[in-house]
Symmetry: C2
Subunit: 112 residues, 2 copies
Amino acid sequence: MSKQGPACCSPLTGEPLDAERAADLARMFKALGEPVRLRLLSLIASHEGGEACVCELTGVFDLTGPTISHHLKVLRAAGLIRGDRRGTWIYYRVEPERLRQASALLDLQPAS
Amino acid sequence: MSKQGPACCSPLTGEPLDAERAADLARMFKALGEPVRLRLLSLIASHEGGEACVCELTGVFDLTGPTISHHLKVLRAAGLIRGDRRGTWIYYRVEPERLRQASALLDLQPAS
DNA sequence: TCCTTGTTTCGACGACTGTCGAGACAGAGG
DNA sequence: CCTCTGTCTCGACAGTCGTCGAAACAAGGA
């Protein structure tokens, strides 16, 4: 379902964002606009194999389990990560397409 | 000048963000994480000449002047735009370097 | 079966944010 | 000088967000 039309990647310099697209993109940026979530995403993205389990993420911060779980849920709702359970542990990995969408929007000089 | 230092543009896949850098980047993404601000930035970036005055931005939304001014202030504090007064009107333009920084962070496959 | 460990959901609290109206400041022109 | 227009600051209010403790759910092992 995530087939992206040409409009998905047009940069800011192209034409003004309409309200609907702005709302979707803002949801993603809002998820990124929190230091803990940004670090969580970076931890997952840079982890060996491209995925990390919650148990490895919790110890990095001085935060309780529920708080980490909450932030992971926000990142999941924004479409930035995806998690699946394998046995006891749940492993999270990034959604590259979604990140590319954000990166392209902010790229003022698209690859020509 | 199109080549940046290694630290400023290292993508998420490189190494985990430290708390300080995450805080600065999160400030910028938080500014982008609001539909009105995202549309304001897009209006400025896509405007003829690369700059737009507040009077042209206010009419687009069903919001009062103070509210638009507040959002512009947040974008300014995040380093995303810059405004200078010329006579009666104040013109805003984007800060390309800052946008490039964000775009590069989210780019999972940097130009190799 | 019960117990232990990993993860999420629920309910609550303080802090922050978006919005407004009223007023202040800046510049242009009588 | 005064006035008008454009923009910002201030103070206040409702709504949202990050955080926690307690409890629930899921899977594995005694």
